[in-house]
Structure formats: structure tokens, C-alpha cells
């Protein structure tokens, strides 16, 4: 029996908006991939934890020095052994020279027969210069030197100026970049490779909604990502949050969108994961190195600074540090925000123009 299809009642109920279904699909594809969850949430915390422990502010270390065995009975040696902050080894001349060369000791003390004292050390090594000062002070005091001016030490360690305070905003910026570029780029190239993009554009699906679903997904994850990393830094290491939360949220959202746009642009054309992967590394590697994640971008030569300052991750890191560590005003982060927004707009415009759906 043939029905007249024009009289069939089409069911319009039982339907959710496409943008909701598309965004839900992004979440399902993400949390059903345990590796992705690890790299986005767990890895940055492990990294921050590891760096925080490695670069924690340690008490001043004692200077390791050697005394030549030939002079082991000299009164100078006794005074050194009594002094605080100095660890003394008595070694043969050759063993002492070896220990100095291999860095086991910072300084070799060789008292001479005429009562003078010879210091052997490498002036290029900071710990050797410190040892020279500490040892010389002990030797001179033992010889009767008095301090003409009395002094008092007050030791401080200020939150906001430690290495961990520097590195947590950097890790946050790096994480925003990585998840924006990897999270969006790989998913899109994978869908293109599997001809899923081609299948989707054969339906009445809105292409803009498809791309927007990736951004909604990124923005939702962003809240969790930022909260985990900043929460970890604040609770475990006491990393300060001096700026306004609204400003921090806006920096994060704009950064995430800008890196998402960069991810879309990278994924606009490649047909293979390998091709996309190469492009992503090409784009991200300079930013890992130059944009001040682990050390200040100011270490690079002045001539390179205009290029470095124009990189999106440099702007993001600078803005995050200004907010978290200095509690910056809007004016102080205006330049960085302008750079981020420019990247956002340029990347989106180019990505939409270049995007290959088949």
C-alpha cells in the first residue's frame, strides 16, 4: 500500500535544539576518553605540584668546603669547623682538587706556612663566591676582627614573589592554550577524516552551531580547569589571588576563546591527525619557549621582544600574573586584553573562511 506522504503528520515533538545535542556530544566524547581527562585536569596539577616542590624556597644552604690535609692541624681549621653554615672536609691535595672540580665542594682552604690563608675556587660559580665570603668572615673573626657596626637580621618570604607564584599563572595559561588547540583541533580533524563532517553538512544542521558547540564545550570545561589549578595553587602553596575575580574570569574566557579560535584555524584544513599535529606543535612550541610559562619572557633579547609580546600566550600569561599577583587595575591589563581579542577575531574570521567541510 502506498501512502500519500504529503498528508503524513510529521512529528515535531521529542526534539531538543541541535546546539544542545551538539554540545552534549562534545562532553560525551570528552569524558568517555579517560586520557583526555588526565591531560586536561590531572597533568597540570602534577606539573604545578612537582615544580612547587622542586623550586620551594629552601633555607640557606651550608657551604661545603675542603681543607688540605697538610694543614689539618692549623688553628684556622678549628675556627672553620666551629663556624655555622660551613661544612668542612679534610682531604688530600689531589682529592681536594678533584672535589672542587666536580662541584662536591665550593672552595678549598689551604693555610700557608707564613700564616696567610689561600682560597682556591671558581669565581664563576655563585656558591663558590658565597663560600669565599662565609669562610673569609669566619677566618677573620677567628683572627680577632670586630664588626664596627652592629646589625640585626629579619628573615622574610613574601607570598607573590616566589617561583611557585610565578609558575602557577603560567601553567594556567599553558593549559588554556593546550586544551583550546588540542581539544578543538583534534576533534575536528578526526571528524573530517572519518567523513563525519561531510555527513553532517548533508543534514540541515547549522554549520555555525556545529562550530559553536566546540566553544560552549570549551567554556564549560574552562570553569573546572581554572578552578582546579588555581584552587590547588592557593590551597597547597598559598599562591595569592589579589585581583578581582570578574577580571580573572574575563581574562580566562577571552583567552579560552582566542585559543579555541586558533584551534579552529589550525584544524580548518588538514585531513589527517598527523598533519594537524605537526601544525599544532609548530604553533605552540614558540609559545611554550618564549611566552614566559616557566621563566620570564624578559630573559630573551630586546630585539625579540616585539614578536614575543605579540604572541597570544605571552599576553595571557602577563594578564593572569598581573591579576593574580599584583591585583592589577583594568588599565594595567588593557594592552594584553587587546592583543587577546585581536587574536580571537583574526583567528575566527580566517578559520570560517578557510574551513574545509569535506
Amino acid at each position: 500500500m502506498t501512502l500519500d506522504r504529503s498528508t503524513r503528520v510529521k512529528n515535531t515533538a521529542d526534539n531538543t535544539p541541535a546546539i544542545v545535542q551538539l554540545t552534549l556530544s562534545r562532553f560525551r566524547e570528552f569524558y568517555r576518553e579517560p586520557e583526555a581527562v588526565f591531560w586536561v585536569f590531572i597533568f597540570p596539577i602534577l606539573l604545578a605540584g612537582g615544580l612547587g616542590i622542586a623550586f620551594r624556597n629552601r633555607p640557606a644552604e651550608a657551604s661545603h668546603i675542603a681543607v688540605a690535609r697538610s694543614a689539618a692541624n692549623s688553628p684556622v681549621v678549628d675556627s672553620l669547623k666551629k663556624a655555622s653554615g660551613i661544612v668542612v672536609d679534610v682531604l688530600d691535595d689531589t682529592a681536594a682538587a678533584n672535589a672542587l672540580r666536580t662541584g662536591k665542594v665550593s672552595l678549598v682552604v689551604a693555610p700557608r706556612a707564613d700564616g696567610s690563608v689561600e682560597y682556591r675556587f671558581d669565581e664563576a660559580r655563585p656558591e663558590s663566591r658565597t663560600a669565599r665570603m662565609v669562610v673569609d668572615r669566619a677566618v677573620q673573626r677567628a683572627g680577632g676582627q670586630q664588626d664596627p657596626v652592629p646589625v640585626a637580621d629579619t628573615k622574610v618570604s613574601e607570598r607573590g614573589s616566589r617561583y611557585i607564584d610565578f609558575v602557577v599563572p603560567g601553567l594556567l595559561g599553558m593549559n588554556l592554550m593546550g586544551s583550546g588547540i588540542w581539544g578543538i583541533g583534534f576533534a575536528i580533524v578526526d571528524a573530517r577524516k572519518k567523513k563525519l563532517l561531510k555527513r553532517l553538512i548533508a543534514t540541515p544542521m547549522s554549520r555555525a552551531e556545529y562550530l559553536a558547540s566546540f566553544l560552549f564545550f570549551r567554556l564549560s570545561l574552562l570553569v573546572i580547569e581554572v578552578a582546579t589549578l588555581i584552587g590547588f595553587g592557593a590551597l597547597v602553596f598559598g599562591v595569592p589571588l589579589r585581583g578581582s575575580m570578574v577580571q580573572l574570569a574575563i581574562i580566562c574566557v577571552l583567552s579560552s576563546l582566542a585559543f579555541g579560535g586558533l584551534g579552529l584555524l589550525i584544524a580548518a584544513r588538514p585531513r589527517t591527525i598527523e598533519g594537524a599535529s605537526g601544525l599544532m606543535n609548530l604553533v605552540m612550541l614558540p609559545m611554550w619557549v618564549f611566552s614566559g610559562v616557566f621563566f620570564s619572557s624578559g630573559n630573551f633579547p630586546k630585539a625579540a621582544q616585539p614578536f614575543i609580546q605579540a604572541l597570544p600566550l605571552t599576553a595571557v600569561n602577563d594578564a593572569l600574573r598581573a591579576n593574580m599577583l599584583q591585583g592589577a587595575s583594568w588599565g594595567a591589563v588593557g594592552g594584553e586584553l587587546a592583543i587577546i581579542v585581536t587574536w580571537l577575531l583574526v583567528c575566527f574570521a580566517l578559520a570560517l573562511r578557510l574551513f574545509r567541510w569535506r
Partner: protein, 315 residues
């Protein structure tokens, strides 16, 4: 029930041409598909079937020619058209992390109106796999899911590109049942295949395509009848190649003779008239039979007769 010849056209393709850098895929191709029929594009790999169907689906644009589809055109009515077509592509892989129901629900959300997820999942017999991830499905189940995604927008016209290629016989029959059901509800289907039995079983009409052109068109029965052969006899002897084609054509009732892979295929009016004389001749020449088969002519024989090649010869 075959659609009547006066039914309005669901698809009219005229003078279609599409060339790629090194090859002309489709060359001056004409097609008419009537509303309510199941139409088959039959041909070997590389004949231009997929290019033709993807032009009709709006995924490729032709170099020349026109496509009228449900009375509309891609350039003008793209969005309206997309919501009335159901499409299954040859090589699409749906997201492996989503479940069957989630995938169908996602595709349903693209259409302003359509069938319910439950209805479509039931139609393709995947109820038990509703909550299974796509990655865990068998090839046949994946293909039925692809068809479910094509049906969920309640299309008027369904395009299936080699829907059963690579599937086991049971999965093929399940897909055939789904297509039959769609047709019995008045839907129009255009499918490509290189399986003869599939075209004969499913299609009201078939266009045989080779080198980007339609070389024969009609119902499977008409096409087979056009051979004028009642039976096909296939036989082999030691030294098949020494037999002269003319000698075989001289036998009673033989309409054509063709040597392929060391055995001869004869199209004959009636097997019972030809076989005795054939056996007699072979006996007389001292050539014992190594094989002898007869079958009713199929679309495969039509293709061989028209092109001199077998459908499955990919070379």
C-alpha cells in the same frame, strides 16, 4: 508495488558532467527517478555512481548539467532540500564514543520535524543496542545505525551509497527489509550497488552505469529479457582456450559465447536444446568436461553483454 510510469519525478538529472584532475567521473548522464520507486544505480567500482549520487545530495557541484530534486534545486533551495532527504554515505564513521540512541537523537535534532528516536531505532532493529557505544557495534549494526540516522528526519527521498557492501548475508537481508519498509510507506529510494542480486531483489528500475554514462535502463526483468536468452550455460574443459568461438556460436540456440577465466559462458534460448549438442561435440573432440552449470540470466549477464567485462573485474 512498482510506481506507475505516470508518477511525478522525485529526481531528474540531465546532462550531468563531473571531471576530476585525471578522469571524467560522470559524462553526460541522464536519470529520472519516479516518486515512490526504488531506483538502483548499478555498475562496477569507479563507474561514477558515487559521484552522481553525491551531486544529487548537494555534496558536490557538477561541472555541467542540472539536478531537479523534489521539484527543487540545490542552488536555490539548499536548506529546504536537506531537511527532506535521508542520506547514507559510503564511508562515514559516526562518533565511536556516543551510544546508538545518542547518535540518532543528535541527528534528529538537526531536523525541524521527523520520526522519534525510539521508532527509528526499532525500525532498524537496534533496540537491544540502544545504550551501546557505536565503537562496539558490528559492521552490519553500524550500517543499520547509519540508515537510522538517514531515516530520522522522515525523508521523502532516501539516498543509499553501497549500503550492503562488505556485510554478511544476514545483515544484507536486514537492510533490504528496512528499504522495503521505507518504500511500502511511499518513500523514494535511490541506491548504488555492485551486487546484482541486490538490484534484482530491491529495485523497481535499474540504470546500469559504466564510465560515467547510463548504458542501460529499465526494470531488472526488462533488462534481462533484452538479452533474449532463456538460460546461460557455463562449461569448462581441459584446453578451453583451444575451442573456437565460431564453433560454439554455430551450435543450436547459442546467442553469444564468451571465454572468461578458463571457462565458457553461452547465452542460449533453451538449455535443453543446446546441452546435448554441446556434449556431443566435446565428446567427438575428446574433451572431457571439468565443469558444467546453467542458470537463468541475471543483471550480471546483461552487464557482461553490454561491456564485455564482468562487474566485479576492478581492472
Amino acid at each position: 508495488m512498482p510506481a506507475s510510469s505516470t508518477a511525478p519525478l522525485a529526481l531528474a538529472v540531465r546532462g550531468l558532467r563531473k571531471a576530476y584532475a585525471d578522469v571524467v567521473a560522470v559524462d553526460a548522464l541522464d536519470l529520472e527517478v519516479r516518486t515512490g520507486e526504488c531506483f538502483g544505480l548499478l555498475g562496477p567500482n569507479g563507474a561514477g555512481k558515487t559521484t552522481t549520487i553525491e551531486i544529487c545530495e548537494g555534496l558536490l557541484s557538477p561541472d555541467a548539467g542540472s539536478v531537479d530534486i523534489l521539484g527543487m534545486q540545490w542552488a536555490r533551495d539548499g536548506n529546504a532540500l536537506r531537511s527532506r532527504l535521508g542520506i547514507q554515505l559510503q564511508e562515514t564513521l559516526l562518533s565511536e564514543k556516543l551510544t546508538v540512541a545518542e547518535s540518532v537523537k543528535l541527528f534528529r535534532s538537526f531536523y525541524p520535524a521527523g520520526r522519534s528516536v525510539d521508532e527509528v531505532v526499532g525500525l532498524v532493529q537496534l533496540d537491544e543496542k540502544r545504550a551501546s557505544r557505536v565503537g562496539t557495534l558490528s559492521g552490519g549494526q553500524k550500517q543499520r545505525l547509519a540508515v537510522a540516522c538517514a531515516l530520522v528526519g522522515d525523508p521523502d527521498l532516501l539516498f543509499l551509497d553501497e549500503p550492503t557492501t562488505g556485510l554478511d548475508p544476514q545483515s544484507r537481508r536486514q537492510l533490504w527489509d528496512i528499504i522495503d519498509k521505507f518504500r511500502s510507506e511511499g518513500g523514494t529510494t535511490v541506491l548504488t550497488t555492485h551486487y546484482m542480486d541486490e538490484a534484482e531483489r530491491l529495485c523497481d528500475r535499474v540504470a546500469i552505469v559504466d564510465h560515467g554514462r547510463v548504458i542501460a535502463l529499465g526494470t531488472p526483468r526488462e533488462l534481462i529479457a533484452s538479452l533474449g536468452a532463456g538460460h546461460v550455460i557455463e562449461f569448462g574443459v581441459d584446453g578451453s582456450r583451444e575451442i573456437d568461438e565460431a564453433a560454439l556460436l554455430a551450435l543450436a540456440g547459442v546467442k553469444s559465447a564468451r571465454l572468461a577465466g578458463g571457462s565458457w559462458a553461452l547465452q542460449v534460448g533453451a538449455a535443453h536444446e543446446t546441452i546435448p549438442v554441446l556434449l556431443q561435440q566435446l565428446q567427438a573432440r575428446g574433451m572431457p568436461l571439468t565443469e558444467l552449470r546453467t542458470h537463468s540470466p541475471t543483471l550480471e549477464d546483461v552487464f557482461v553483454t553490454l561491456t564485455g567485462r564482468s562487474l566485479r573485474d576492478d581492472a
